[in-house]
Amino acid sequence: MLSIRRRVHTDAARREAGTMRKRKRRPPRAKGKAAAGGRRPGRVRTPSELGENGMDLHQEEIAYQMAVRQREISVSEFFTKNRHLLGFDNPKKALLTTVKEAVDNSLDACEDAKIIPELKIDLRQIGEDRFRVAVEDNGPGIVKAQVPKVFGKLLYGSKFHTLKQARGQQGIGISAAGMYGQLTTGQPVRITSRIGPRKPAHYFEIRIDTQKNAPEIIRDEETAWDSPHGTRVEIELEGKYQKGRQSVESYLEQVSLANPHVRILYRDPEGEGVVLPRAANVLPREPREIKPHPYGVELGVLMQMLKTTGARHLKSFLTRDFSRVGSKVAREICARAGLSETAWPSRIAREESDKLSRAINSTKIMSPPTDCLSPIGEELILAALKKQIKAVFYEATSRAPSVYRGNPFLIEVGLAWGGPAAAAGDGDEDPLASLVRFANRVPLLYQQSACAITKAVIGTNWRAYGLAQARGALPSGPLTVMVHMASVWVPFTSESKEAIAHYPEIMKEVRLGLQDVGRKLKAFLSRRARIADAEKKKAYIEKYLPHIGAALRDILALRKPQEARVVRILTRVLEKSRKMD
């Protein structure tokens, strides 16, 4: 593929360059040969040899020659070569990533359409390293005209330009999965979609033209389908099926944990069916779009906004184009910046944006609105934890929203303690706590150690809450910690969305959430310990006071009734005292 494109484009470029200047065909290659044959390789001209010495004409030609070779690179080409950036590093991960992208898309679509989601995931092995992944939802379906672009074009989507919480963000995932499938098996992506019972279902086979980053429709026909509405996507790919912690099944279980309103039917490659039922029959609160919050809008972005705003005055620019900027705050910003409220935004963009930026950052502005976020909620986290984990203590907290770089976000923490491991006794060799991470209800399975959540969990002093914890490690014991970050924009450390970047604001919120549930865990453990203490106290009194009596009798040669009296009095005195000491 590469050589062909190169050839084709070199020709085109030559034609284009020809309009600039005439010259020999392929001069660089010819020159390379000469160099290899005769002189020492590459020893052409030192800087001192260059200059005003008649080689100028040639000199200019070089720049022109080089110009011919410059051309645009399509984003699909880029990601084909850099597929590891998208989570297609190896066949194992590719299989899971494909399922994940399709599931994310389906859930987002269902929730946008206010449909309680029901997903069917079907994995079939059709060759030694080849799988067919089919994901079907009961969502709203996709309008016929949009199908090719949604599945056949990278960086095409509805979420990127909105400030609103969603699973998908940048319109890469499902197209990239299709592209990977096509690259490794040559097979197109197969889509069936129906937007309502009165409309026919449409079946598509779509390939991606990576040179143009554009869909190529192989097949497009009406088809019979028994679902009244929904979408089914089928991708064939080179993959490897894996069991255990990073398996498709474990991934879907975590999806069910963070999405208690979803019902999942899964058929694994061995034909086993698994049903993950709902823990709740309600849709999450619908997240709303918001305008950007002034904090964290960088200078360059601010200038761009000033230039392209529809507002005619600085003050109305501030109130209309940002969230949480009312008249009073806008006035304060203008005053701090020393700018007139009626100044023209485009003039400020050129000359005084720096001042404005500083004024914004030194003015106290309310946190962004929170209805752009859709938390799972403490109640549902508890329900989901109880459904999936056997423990003796459950706790959850849903923090108030906060902001990093102008993006609102919110942290939720769930915790389950006890269960079979705890019953086994206070062994010193407790296993490490298990940590389950979510971003916008999507489980994060890889790169745990690189994630801000993990760092915050490790950085929390769990000993203060009654747990064992080695330096630089997760706490140990029969503990499951679940952390969910909901945000209009989750800052992943890579496009494969595996770990959250270490923003201090995010770390802080996670820590506060952990401390919240940690304190409650401590209260629970203290209560347990107090009960144990009271029992111990009673036992101590029964065990040891008689020996005090006996010793005093021996030393002082007391009589039996005197000894008994000593023990009786001591028992009463100690039982009265509330504490152990």
Partner: protein, 369 residues
Amino acid sequence: MGKRRKGARGTEAKIRGEAGSIYRTILRRRKPSLSLPIRSLDNVRYNPKVGYFEIGRKRKERTLTVNTAKTFAQSLKMMSLSIDLLRGDDIATKREAYYVSKNWGDARFDEQTESDAVMDDVEALFEVNREQLGFIPEEKGGEVAGRLTVIDRDPDTGRALKIDCTRFGSGAYSIPISVEDLGFRTNASFILAIETAGMFQRLVKHNFWKKANCILVSMGGVPTRACRRFIRRLADERKIPVYAFVDGDPYGITNIYRTLKVGSGNAAHINKFFCVPQARYLGVTPQDIIEFKLKDATHPLKEVDIKRARDALSNDPFIMRELAWQQAIEQMIEMGVRVEQQAFAKHDLNYVIDVYLPKKLRNPEKFLP
């Protein structure tokens, strides 16, 4: 059994007094408590008047509560055991006392460290030494040869036994664990306390005690309580000086010699019994390395030696009182080497007998304090 040990009645009375006070407190329906001196280094000071480490005034109250009930019961049981030993004129090693507790039901000790700690508490409480309570340490230690007759008694008959330490040949008299009841007869000029068994054997083999008219005591490293108490009682009763002959290194000075002379920091409550304030340091001194040309038989100070030396300079209350010692230790650090008693063998195996000791003993007033 023979006649009762000296002072046994006094100790018994002390224990009964304490128990009676506890008993009365209980009858008043109040929580009884034991007042124990704190046995840690920051409650210790060097008293140059008496010449040993003394325990300070800090005390902790062990009040009877649910949490302390077990230890409190064990302290009383230990006091009761001591009374039994004193009445029966018997002894028990620390390990035996631990095993006796196995009969105490729930109040039994699970580890000997626990019973040792309670024993230390009782010892501190009554300001007597463990031996006076009837408890003896596990370790023996210390051999004696030379111009000394020890007077002991036959345990059955109580008859005096005279033990002539000049008559052991290459062997020696082994100091018993408890030396409280021994008597002494001697006209020796001094006691020479020797660090190593090897050096002791050389001096015995060559009848050094005969020439020098002295008593040789082998300490075998840091002297045990019995060894220190033996030297102390002997020196006190017969009014003879004690000279220490140990390795010239920070361990020999700050552990072996310092423990012999002023006692140990963490046993300050009993140091008054277990130290030899009249001891003086014969050698080997850093200056001896120069005077006796031992340079090529020295060893470089290790990290741990230097650390020990510096610690002594800045923390040891005894060293901090004695300018001469500070100078000697600083000289050693500067020279960067340590020297052992055996180093004299470099010149000749008997150089130590023929040259070193006679020369040093000519000027005992020059010995380090």
